[in-house]
Subunit: 193 residues, 2 copies
């Protein structure tokens, strides 16, 4: 049985200018189930860079509340353009299970095409492969999201997703990380239904 206030760390990146050499803020929110915000982490990653995975591992491992964290969530496996999140590496180096959420079925052919222009295509594509199979989770009636999971079995991953979707069809840790990451850069940001 899942604790209703299980601590989930949800990440999202800020808005940015594509193909710039900007550093983009990345916000991690520590959320209690689908209920309330308990803490905030911040780092920044380079547009189309390859530092996101390492930066996130470092951030998670240096958090004073790491012992309480039970699972990490991402909204997709790219940040700041094509800065890839290797969830397998994150799971291995933090010991925390990872759930990736996609509201739409990712178009892998399109991702592959986007990645082709990078010299280190092989390595970036590995992050896509390491994220594993894309599965479906029904939140309510006919409303579903797509997810990938590592370090946590399918049934439990779906339980975590459903538990945390208290205000919309997006888990609260991701909805709130998005509002904050967007708002601090754009000056304002509002929740989506």
């Amino acid at each position: 049985m899942l604790k209703p206030e299980i601590r989930i760390l949800g990440f999202d990146d800020s808005a940015f200018t594509p193909r710039s050499k900007e550093l983009v803020p990345v916000i991690g929110v520590i959320f209690r189930g689908g209920k309330f915000l308990d803490g905030l982490l911040r780092t920044e990653v380079l547009v189309d860079g390859n530092d996101a995975t390492e930066k996130i591992i470092k951030l998670v491992n240096s958090t004073r509340h790491k012992q309480q964290l039970k699972v990490i969530m991402f909204d997709g496996i790219t940040m700041a353009g094509f800065n890839m999140i290797d969830v397998k590496k994150i799971f291995e180096e933090t010991g925390l299970p990872v759930i990736v959420i996609n509201r739409k079925l990712p178009d892998l052919a399109k991702v592959k095409k986007g990645l082709k222009r990078f010299e280190d295509f092989e390595e970036r594509w590995r992050a896509v492969e390491n994220a594993g199979k894309i599965k479906e989770c029904y939140i309510k009636d006919f409303k579903k999201v797509y997810y990938q999971n590592i370090g946590i079995d399918d049934a439990l991953a779906r339980e975590v997703i459903k538990l945390s979707c208290t205000r919309s069809y997006i888990p609260e840790p991701l909805r709130i990380a998005h509002i904050i990451a967007t708002g601090i850069v754009k000056g304002e940001s509002y929740g989506r239904a």
Copy 2:
């Protein structure tokens, strides 16, 4: 009867270096009662400057969700050192009631002393006077906070405060604004009990 999901806009400033000439981020969170985050606003104010009141008025009046906002909350009436928040002016120019929360009884003699070094002492001190009488609000048993109010009567102000203290003895809009404002500058921040 107060709606449990009344929209409250709570402000807090980030950490900063005293007496520097820094611009300090100020975060406003749109909160539904004491329940959940619905939006985020951001501006920045100068350490010991005199732009906080105007910046906040501008931010509030330009928000697309202004019509839904019912009340503004501050944690004290200073930001970024001695950048004064004139709540009377904010009430007059936004039309929104304001509640100021202080966890401890403000030491006005000390504030006056701190303000004396500024050439525009008179104007800064006026913000203190404009905030009005400091009153007490019991949250639970013997736990109380101090508050000031303008544009909203005492009984209703206390109702808003109590309604929004769902996770601690600080209203959620202020607790969350604090976590975000601190975390984005320091890289991490955690809730207080």
